[in-house]
């Protein structure tokens, strides 16, 4: 087994993503009947308090508000952002990825962060000319260097297999409590600092270890997210090469 980093695999992957992207784009208008069932129940609850007309207007207003929020977010952000629609969500066998309708032609490259106005979604892992594949935070390989905003404690955010994330490497003596906001760390080479990841939902002191388990509720609702931004980050290859060289030198010594 190997990581997909060589040129041939990348070319094959690019072709596969283009093919799957076009197909998913074609199917993207179809809804999931089970999701529709849930949506129907929610709408029924809404109908108790709202008339059909108000409900319709509210839906339109919410969409308008959402788009305005995205626009405002884009305007106030000092980063270069490219908006994208999610045309496919791949969830088979926990390989949770999203297909975006932007690619190399929009300046998208591997490892660029994906965000929404509410927080971090993940990163780009493969790109074709017009589509790209994003790895969301709910993925086995997702690791994000993170900081607790209040106490500035650093850790690594990973997925626990459910709808929650976990903050790893947090010793018991560290000040952290439910409600704390978790943001991307200034030390991350992949993600810009201070992007919200989630809110601490639980803290559990594991017996007979020095660490505590910190549960995080992601800021982004991955089940309903439809539009995202990709941050066009500047090439940080010099830093990466420098860090890798130093790590290799330390191993040699």
């Amino acid at each position: 087994m190997t990581q997909n980093n060589n040129k041939q695999i990348r070319a094959l992957q690019s072709f596969a993503i283009a093919f799957i992207g076009y197909t998913q784009d074609a199917f993207s208008f179809l809804p999931n009947p089970f999701a529709l069932e849930r949506q129907r129940n929610t709408l029924q609850e809404l109908n108790v308090s709202l008339s059909e007309e108000v409900s319709f207007l509210r839906s339109a207003a919410l969409e308008n508000l959402h788009l305005r929020t995205m626009l405002a977010f884009r305007e106030r952000s000092n980063r270069t952002l490219v908006a994208a629609d999610i045309v496919g969500k791949n969830i088979h066998l926990m390989r949770n990825t999203i297909t975006l309708n932007i690619g190399k032609e929009n300046g998208i490259k591997q490892n660029m962060p994906i965000i929404t106005e509410t927080g971090l979604v993940g990163r780009i892992i493969a790109v074709s000319d017009n589509y790209s594949l994003g790895q969301i935070l709910l993925h086995r390989e997702s690791r994000v260097s993170a900081t607790v905003e209040r106490s500035r404690v650093n850790g690594i955010v990973a997925w626990n297999g459910g709808l929650q994330l976990v903050l790893k490497n947090i010793v018991k003596s560290v000040d952290i409590k439910p409600g704390d906001r978790i943001v991307t760390s200034p030390f991350s080479s992949l993600y810009p600092r201070n992007i919200e990841i989630g809110i601490v939902s639980s803290v559990y002191h594991v017996p007979e270890t020095i660490f505590q388990e910190v549960g995080i509720t992601p800021s982004v609702d991955f089940a309903t997210v439809e539009r995202v931004f990709v941050i066009i980050s500047k090439d940080d290859s010099e830093r990466n090469a420098f860090e890798q060289t130093n790590a290799a030198n330390r191993q040699d010594q």
Binding site: M1, T2, Q3, N4, I9, L12, Q13, A16, I17, F19, I20, T23, Q24, A26, F27, L30, P31, N32, P33, F34, G88, K89, N90, I91, H92, L93, M94, R95, T97, I125, A126, L133, Q135, R140, E141, A158, W159, N160, G161, G162, V166, K168
Partner: protein, 157 residues
């Protein structure tokens, strides 16, 4: 040659279906594995070697599409095709759909596929193994088996 081409076309179509439209019938992130169904059909019609090869190739393609590291899907689906091959009967190879043989081959090989997949996939992660096997391993097997029983029910009615 005709059978070979037909199998390849079905394989490509079902891989496209699996990666695009199957999410439409997913329940809590669990969806039927139609590629595994195709592998079982190939194994029951053409034998163990054909099933094993079909499993390896389709698994590798799904690995590439997923953007994940290569080999897990190929390994799991190779085993799926190999095990389904034990249900091959050369005198009954034309009768696949609507038989108990197909149904049991799907349950057996799909369960083995999912267990092997998750045993390797969850190495070095924070993800709880037992819960994942029960939720996604058995869940996917049950959903895939439920789809495979449709032709059987159709035939009985």
């Amino acid at each position: 040659m005709k059978t070979f081409l037909r199998n390849i076309l079905w394989g490509v179509a079902l891989i496209a279906l699996q990666t695009t439209a199957m999410r439409l019938i997913s329940i809590e992130g669990i969806m039927p594995d139609v590629v595994a169904l195709w592998i079982v059909v190939v194994a029951l019609r053409e034998g163990q070697i054909a099933g094993t090869v079909a499993g390896f190739v389709s698994g590798l393609i799904l690995d590439v599409i997923s953007g994940d590291f290569l080999g897990i899907g190929a390994l799991a689906k190779t085993v799926c095709g190999f095990l389904a091959g034990y249900f091959y009967d050369e005198f009954k190879s034309s009768e696949v759909f609507g038989t108990y043989r197909f149904f049991f081959a799907v349950i057996f090989s799909s369960l083995a596929h999912n267990i092997i997949f998750f045993v390797v996939y969850l190495q070095g992660t924070e993800i709880e193994f037992a819960r994942t096997i029960i939720q996604f391993g058995i869940g996917t097997t049950a959903y895939t088996s439920a789809v495979s029983i449709v032709p059987l029910l159709w035939k009985r009615t």
